[in-house]
Every structure is written in structure tokens, then in C-alpha cells.
């Protein structure tokens, strides 16, 4: 039996912004429709030797190396906490291949309060490799596939027949001079908003259920994402500011948003039909 991708609020955190389980005392946690974990791989990954943070106009370049202690350790430490959270949990997985993806998703089935899997795709993956990874990750839980930003407009439509119930967006990659060389990393911050809106609109127009993200910092940004066709919105660096999501919940349109989504809605979810 598949759970539906039901969300009581269209606000989500992006994977990597709130840890493996949320810190105690986040009084705004209940504003989120779901808590998404940091990216988790089968085996532990240590920090990249060239990890870096470089600011640029309107954003930051961040490269950490997807640091995580591996799935077994995360489940030991956090699965019990997930069960007790006031919001559903989506577990973000990164896998080096379909078998690894299958081995990981199997361990999540039946976990209390785990409502979905978000599968990260490595940058520059081919549509064929993406499809096989997504098929590998297919399990009882609804599957959200996080697309590399630069290929999202191409990969989303290519994965429409796949087990993906919806798509989300990884931050775009960039290059900046730092410490005497060009450093590569993910880009975050308000500067990304116009491109993110563009990608969201293009996926929505192609009939792909899409969770928007990238540079959302205020109610206007949130409404623009929903107007562009996003069924929900992930917040990133905003959550590292000192107001959390602030009063973003007040900007959620009363007439609703894209979710609840069911797998059968894949081609034409209600929110996108009226575009």
C-alpha cells in the first residue's frame, strides 16, 4: 500500500537544512508540512577535503561533501525521534546505484511517521541512469525525486512514467575563486529565485508535479512559486536565519495548493490542471 503524498502545509525544509532530526525547541516546526532529513547514504561519508563556503552577491556557494554517518547509524540515532515528531518525516537518500537505492528504501518501509522518500540524483546523471535509480528506489513509500537544477527541465519529463510521485530541485552548482583556486559547490540564497521560478514553471507546464525551492525568503516569493506551478515549497538558507520561516505561513493562499497528491495524479495533478 502506498501512502499518499499528503501535506497539511505547503512549507517544507530542503534536505540538509535542519539535520537528521530537528533540534529541540524549534517552535515553528509545526508550520512545516513535513520534515525532510539531511541526505543519507548507505555508508558514511566524511566531509569533503575541499569543503568551503564562499559568499557572492545574493547568495553563498557551499561545498561540504554530503557528510553523513550512513543509513544504519542514522536510523539507530533518529528513527525513534522521527516517530515522535509533530510533523511527517521524509527521508532524503543518496545512492550510488539502483541496488543500493533498493537496499536503503527497504529499511524505511514501515518506520513510524516516515511518509515519503526523497531521492537525490547525482549531478550530470543521464535520463537512463536516473530512471534506473528511481526504479531501484521504488518502494511502498511515495517517492519524491530531487532533480539536479540544471537538468531538471529535461529530466522531469523523462521521468514522468517512472515511480516518481513528485519532483523537487537540488540547488544549482557554481564555481567561485576561493583559497587560490576555483571552488565548486551548491548555490543557495535569494539570487537563485528567478531561475528557480523558471524551472518550476517549465516542469509544471510539462505536467510534472513539482516542489519548488531556491531563494524563497518572503511571502511574495512563496506565492510566486505556487503561481509558477509549485505544489509545495522547500525553504533553505532562510531557515538558517534568525526568524526561521517567520510569518510565511500567513502567505499561504486560502484557496489551497498542489497537494494532496496521489500517485495516480502524476500526469495532471489537480493544482496543475487549471494552468
Amino acid at each position: 500500500m502506498k501512502h499518499d503524498l499528503y501535506l497539511a502545509s505547503p512549507l517544507l525544509n530542503a534536505a540538509g537544512t535542519l539535520g537528521f532530526s530537528p533540534r529541540a525547541g524549534l517552535d515553528w516546526l509545526g508550520q512545516l508540512g513535513a520534515f525532510i532529513t539531511n541526505p543519507i547514504s548507505l555508508h558514511h561519508r566524511s566531509p569533503a577535503h575541499d569543503r568551503t563556503l564562499i559568499p557572492f552577491e545574493g547568495g553563498i556557494l557551499l561545498h561540504t561533501g554530503l557528510i553523513n554517518p550512513g543509513l544504519r547509524y542514522v536510523l539507530n540515532q533518529h528513527a525513534a525521534r522521527w516517530a515522535g515528531l509533530p510533523v511527517p518525516v521524509w527521508v532524503h537518500l543518496i545512492a550510488s546505484g539502483p541496488e543500493e537505492a533498493a537496499a536503503m528504501t527497504r529499511q524505511l518501509e514501515g518506520l513510524e511517521n516516515v511518509h515519503a522518500v526523497e531521492l537525490g540524483l547525482p549531478p550530470e546523471i543521464s535520463p537512463a541512469a536516473a530512471l534506473s535509480l528511481v526504479k531501484g528506489a521504488h518502494c511502498e513509500l511515495p517517492l519524491v525525486v530531487q532533480l539536479p537544477f540544471e537538468q531538471a527541465a529535461q529530466l522531469g519529463p523523462a521521468l514522468k512514467g517512472s515511480p516518481a510521485a513528485a519532483f523537487s530541485l537540488a540547488p544549482p552548482r557554481g564555481l567561485l575563486p576561493g583559497q587560490g583556486r576555483l571552488a565548486s559547490g551548491r548555490l543557495l540564497g535569494p539570487a537563485l529565485l528567478p531561475q528557480a521560478l523558471n524551472v518550476v514553471q517549465s516542469l509544471a507546464k510539462a505536467g510534472c508535479p513539482v516542489i519548488g525551492s531556491g531563494g524563497v525568503t518572503c511571502g511574495d516569493d512563496l506565492r510566486a512559486m505556487l503561481e509558477a506551478g509549485a505544489a509545495a515549497v522547500q525553504l533553505d538558507t532562510l531557515l538558517w536565519g534568525l526568524k526561521g520561516p517567520g510569518n510565511l505561513a500567513a502567505s499561504i493562499p486560502a484557496e489551497g495548493w498542489g497537494f494532496p497528491l496521489q500517485d495516480e495524479d502524476l500526469d495532471f495533478p489537480p493544482a496543475l490542471e487549471n494552468q
Binding site: 540538509g16 537544512t17 535542519l18 539535520g19 537528521f20 533540534r23 525547541g25 524549534l26 539531511n38 566524511s46 566531509p47 569543503r51 568551503t52 563556503l53 559568499p55 545574493g58 547568495g59 553563498i60 557551499l62 561540504t64 561533501g65 557528510i67 553523513n68 543557495l188 540564497g189 535569494p190 525568503t217 538558507t237 531557515l239 538558517w240 536565519g241 534568525l242 526568524k243
Partner: protein, 223 residues
């Protein structure tokens, strides 16, 4: 994660670095080497809040060590989170306390001085004379200030070392065999909210996160 607000009373320059004075309730004051994250309450929010360190205590409030953003003006209200992380732990038995900031402002070590004097330790500060001369208040008379060149002899004298070397620890310090700690300068984008790993520090005990286990680490643990 508790967020609070406080007024930035004053801003001044010390040898080109922007230092501030924060109206800070006693129960929110970070001890030496612990961190705060801060952002102006009004105006467009920065992409990330700014990392702040205590740089001394005055009757009017907490001195914020150099690095305040240019956009901050005296009188503004700051939103703040913290203190978080693990700071300097002055051994109660330390008698010869060496504070070493050979490369830049010694501000982040100054909050250790009243603690050391209170336990009747002798205190020596290694610091460039330009930064020393720029301090808004003179050092207590009991503190001896010496230039970076005198660091080797001072190490022979010290039984506890607190170091702050943002450009990387000199060999002299990493190879020192005595009891000591160093404040490691790394970015802290998530401020212990997300295990983001940007502040990861490789120690003999494995990877540590500066925002939780640091940014002050025992010299013997630093690989």
C-alpha cells in the same frame, strides 16, 4: 534554539577592524570562544546571519570581537541566537596563562583575562603591537604584552596556552606539548541547526563540528 534581541550600543575601529558594544543580558553572554549568530532586525535580511564572538566585557555591555558587517550602525537592534559551541576552559590550576593571537586582533582571547586574574594566574598576551595600541581600553596592568617574535620563550614559560590564529596554527603551536586550546576559524552557516558539515574539523578523535564541539579544541586533539 532560542532567539533573542539586543541593541548594538556602539561601533568603533581597532586597527581597521570593526568592533561593537552590545547591550547583553548577563544570562546570554557567551564565555570566551563561544559563538553567537546575529542579524539586524530591520532591513533586508542577510543571506546568512553573522558569526559573533565575545571580545571583552565593559560595564555597558558585551564587546563584540572584530568582523561586524559594514551595514551595521550604532543603535540598531540585533536578532541573536546562541551562545552555542564549546569555548575556552581555563584550567583552575593554570598559573602561567599564555594568550596567543600573533596574526590579528587579540579580542577573542581578552575575555579570558579577568578569569585568569581572578584565579591569580600570571597572564602574557602575544599580539602585534599595532593591535595592542588600537584596543579601546588598556590591558590590566598585571598582563604582560609581548610581540609575536617573543612567542617561543613565552611557550617555555606557559603552563596553559589559548591560541587564536585564523590563518592557521603555526607549527610552533601544533607541536607544543603543554596543555592548551585553540579557537579554529571556520564558517558556521547553519550554526548547529543542521549538521551541515561546513564547520567540520578533523581531530585525532575523528571529525568534529566546530559549532557544537568547538570552535575551541584542545591542541592535542588537532590532527
Amino acid at each position: 534554539m532560542h532567539t533573542w534581541t539586543a541593541r548594538l550600543i556602539e561601533i568603533w575601529e581597532e586597527n581597521g577592524a570593526r568592533v561593537g558594544l552590545l547591550e547583553c543580558p548577563a544570562d546570554h553572554r557567551p564565555s570566551a570562544g563561544r559563538c553567537l549568530l546575529g542579524a539586524a532586525r530591520e532591513g533586508p535580511p542577510p543571506v546568512l546571519p553573522h558569526l559573533l564572538f565575545p571580545g571583552g566585557l565593559l560595564p555597558e555591555g558585551l564587546v563584540l570581537a572584530p568582523g561586524l558587517p559594514l551595514s551595521w550602525q550604532p543603535g540598531i537592534e540585533l536578532a541573536l541566537r546562541g551562545p552555542f559551541g564549546s569555548g575556552f576552559h581555563l584550567p583552575p590550576k593554570a598559573r602561567h596563562v599564555l594568550l596567543a593571537a600573533p596574526q590579528h586582533s587579540p579580542r577573542r582571547l581578552l575575555p579570558l583575562i579577568p578569569l585568569a586574574l581572578a584565579q591569580r594566574s600570571e597572564v602574557t598576551l602575544v599580539c602585534h603591537p599595532d593591535f595592542l595600541a588600537a584596543l579601546s581600553h588598556p590591558l590590566p596592568p598585571l598582563v604582560e604584552a609581548i610581540p609575536p617574535e617573543a612567542l617561543p620563550e613565552a611557550l617555555d614559560w606557559a603552563d596553559y596556552l589559548a591560541a587564536d590564529c585564523p590563518a592557521g596554527l603555526p607549527h610552533l603551536l601544533t607541536e607544543w606539548r603543554g596543555s592548551g586550546q585553540a579557537l579554529i576559524s571556520v564558517p558556521m552557516p547553519c550554526g548547529n541547526l543542521a549538521d551541515c558539515g561546513a564547520c567540520a574539523v578533523n581531530t585525532r578523535g575523528g571529525w568534529k563540528l566546530a559549532c557544537k564541539d568547538g570552535p575551541v579544541f584542545d591542541l592535542r586533539d588537532l590532527a
